[in-house]
């Protein structure tokens, strides 16, 4: 069982070495010339004002919360999907069960829609 994951582990190690090898190599190979102006953050040629740690729209947080909710629902659906074909041939119960699940999910979904959670003005 765990043996199946051995190649993935090796690939992961390989990818890490590869990625950080490239980063380190380019870090040491390139020339280096420092100047104060170069060190400033880029703002299309204007002198930078304010820090970049600014407040941003709460919408992004809402999207993140909604994603968590729906993603968990999708994870619940996966086992159902995988066994569906076998079990539905013995009876329709599994289908009705899922209709109930999806209807509850959709009630929440349309509530969010009505509250304007998906609106970007």
């Amino acid at each position: 069982m765990l043996k199946e994951y051995l190649p993935i582990l090796i690939l992961l190690i390989f990818a890490f070495v590869f990625a950080f090898g490239i980063l380190l190599l380019s870090h040491f190979v390139g020339p280096r010339k420092y100047s104060d102006v170069k060190g400033e953050p880029y703002e299309s040629g204007i002198k930078p004002f304010m820090d970049a740690r600014v407040r941003f729209s709460v919408k992004f947080y809402i999207i993140a919360v909604l994603f968590i909710i729906f993603d968990v629902e999708i994870v619940f659906l996966y086992p159902w999907v995988v066994v569906y074909k076998e079990i539905v041939s013995q009876g329709i119960f599994i289908f009705i069960e899922m209709i109930v699940f999806v209807v509850i999910l959709l009630i929440g979904y349309f509530y969010l829609w009505k509250r304007g959670a998906f609106e970007w003005e």
């Binding site: 190649p7 090796i10 380019s26 870090h27 400033e40 941003f56």
Partner: protein
Amino acid sequence: MVDLIIELVIIILKIGIVIGAVMMGVAYMTLAERRLSGFIQDRLGPNRAGPQGLLQPFADGIKLFFKEDFIPDSAEKLLFFIAPGMIFVPALCVIAVIPFGDSLNIFGREIQLRIADVNIGILYIFAIASLGVYGIVLGGWSANNKYTLFGSLRSVAQMISYELALGLSVMGVLMITGSLRLTEVVEVQRSYFFGFIPHWNIFLQPVAFIIFITAAFAETNRLPFDLVEAEQELVGGYHTEYNSMKWGLYFLSEYANVITASAVITTLFFGGWHLPWIEKIPMPQILLELLQIGSFVLKTAFFSIFFIWVRWTFPRFKYNQLMSLGWKVFLPIAILNVLVTGLFYAIFS
């Protein structure tokens, strides 16, 4: 013990070949992108380095290595340095579960043509692919620049929104297969309808295919959904402050993601390595295997080219259009698609 060593050698060889192929694919996709965009816009594109510009990717790579590796004063140094690595590692690892052929018989040893054959196949792809978000958000935040911050925020919001549609659209295919293992997804597609039309999932799940490929565009941050680096608003988006090979890694990851997405689309909807009608022609086993690998590479290349083609054909969406398309159109349609597929099996069994 000897057996174990041979097995390890085989694994390492497979990893080397697959990653080598992906990196070569990435290198030549950058060239293909520039040449094709040239042809689409009625100009030539880079054609100086080598015949038809074939050495251009290597010239670019060497140039990037010898650029100054500069970190802005205001940046969080450590995070700024590792963020490109954090997007590149998942981009390389996703390809591991995709079968690129059936199995080769060399020296009496059966070699499965995939790096790993795990039973959670498709979930592994989604799990690892979404880790790429961290590279983008950390890179954008740590540069301490307003453009990069907003670029990375947009990117994350877009990627997680479309991940839902992506996850739901695959369910129809999994319902047909009854397994998450990608080997079995391909296996099911090897039969024929009426004896001659290949049993590819595209014919059974066209709606899922359209949702999946569109969501894949959003996931890879490619035009028409490249709000992340909308030049007019955000300069270069989340990698504005990056240069030399650190920028190069973001660039390579984007193309590696496109190739992986193409390979996943091929596997899920276009029969993977299955080359239709070829089994009926008698030929040596090894030739058949090579043809099948060739057909997988060809299909993947086709979709990669398709990504480029779309990029230079469609204008960019607005951000509110992008979000409402994902949440208000694709999400309900994808749920409906699952239910309709379920209803179909409920009636016909």
